[in-house]
Amino acid sequence: MPKTIVQEFTKGLWQELPPFRLVLGLCPVLGVTTSMENGLGMGIATTFVLVGSNLLISMLRSVIPQKVRIACFIIIIAAFVTIVELLMQAYTYPLYLKLGVFIPLIVVNCIVLGRAEAFAYKNKISSSMADGLGIGIGFTMSLGALGAVRELLGHGSVTVWGDFSYNLLSAFPSFQPFSFMVQAPGAFICLGLMLCLINAIGD
């Protein structure tokens, strides 16, 4: 049964919520979520690439030959990633510095290539856009949530672009930041526990 555009969009928010439902694209999820800001930034960058590449691939799907489709997808995605990279350098340089190597690595993010291969190459432009946007927003939400949890526990406070901030220390003055959470092992364990939570809710 063909889905409506709204359905294509919303499925990315829960049913196929990356990275929890589709267990893909874990590297940035683990690597950049030391703070909520980083997570959201990474998510938005990925969303941009997802939507852009989905759009272009969907447009060009009749032109791209089956045999070199992966190569073509990669070129298109890489182009979008480079654009994001340059734009971020130009306008959000501190964020770019924090995300570092993970920005060029969007190009090998399984989610992006996976959507291109599994969805955009087979569907028309509007649903591809909706799909890309939905998955991208889901991804951004997940990263933001993970980043928020890690930042809150690890630093005792959450700050997003200076505008929004919450300090745990004001509520619990004796709280000592649990810095394990912002280190590498904490990333894995925190993601594992969140995945467990999502599974438990899903059941």
């Binding site: 032109v63 070129i75 480079t82 130009a90």
Partner: protein, 197 residues
């Protein structure tokens, strides 16, 4: 064969177009990127070193050719006089180069400070070099003539515990900066007059 040609053509055209688009974007953003780099990478370090300067050191930078490379010196005016410069040098850390911004007072030939600009060290340990003032604060006031090493190597600088290599790299960078300064002092003095005006 036809198939092959089509494959090659599609790939080539697609990558050429991508190349073109990217070149355009790059061109459009290049100046903005440079400004951002100065502002966010070197800016904090420069401002820390030249704290209290009456001018904007980033704006008042001077370019001097050092062999093949062009070096930027950021000039700070204190008491209305352009007598302090800050410039960057690099030392090999564990994960790559560590950039250290070094400030020198031209009149007294003494270090006014040092600050880490870029590093790719292990988070949590090597990164302390940037955030932990205990290392860089030791440089303040040292005469530029010495070469600096960490205590473990028989020198005078106390390394950050657990980050000896990083500390060593910072020392190397500062020592290099001092050599550069001594080598280029005449040119600097010449150029700095222009700023002073």
């Amino acid at each position: 064969m036809n198939d092959m040609v089509k494959m090659v053509v599609v790939l080539t055209v697609l990558s050429s177009v991508a190349g073109g688009v990217l070149a355009a974007v790059n061109k459009g953003t290049a100046s903005q990127i440079e400004a951002q780099q100065l502002k966010f990478v070197k800016g904090p370090a420069i401002n820390a070193i030249l704290d209290g300067a009456s001018n904007d050191p980033i704006k008042d930078r001077i370019q001097i050719a050092d062999g093949a490379v062009e070096r930027s010196f950021f000039v700070g005016k204190f008491d209305g006089k352009a007598n302090t410069i800050a410039f960057e040098e690099f030392g090999k850390g564990f994960g790559g180069d560590i950039g250290v911004m070094v400030g020198v007072n031209i009149d007294s030939d003494k270090l006014v400070g040092a600050a880490v600009t870029v590093h790719t060290e292990t988070p949590g340990l090597g990164a302390k070099a940037k955030d932990d003032p205990s290392l860089v604060s030791q440089f303040k006031g040292l005469p530029v003539t010495d070469s600096l090493t960490v205590t473990k190597d028989g020198g005078q600088i106390n390394a950050i515990s657990g980050a000896t290599i990083t500390s060593r790299a910072v020392c190397v960078a500062v020592t290099k900066a001092m050599n550069t300064y001594q080598k280029m002092k005449p040119q600097i003095q010449e150029e700095i007059q222009k700023v002073g005006k």
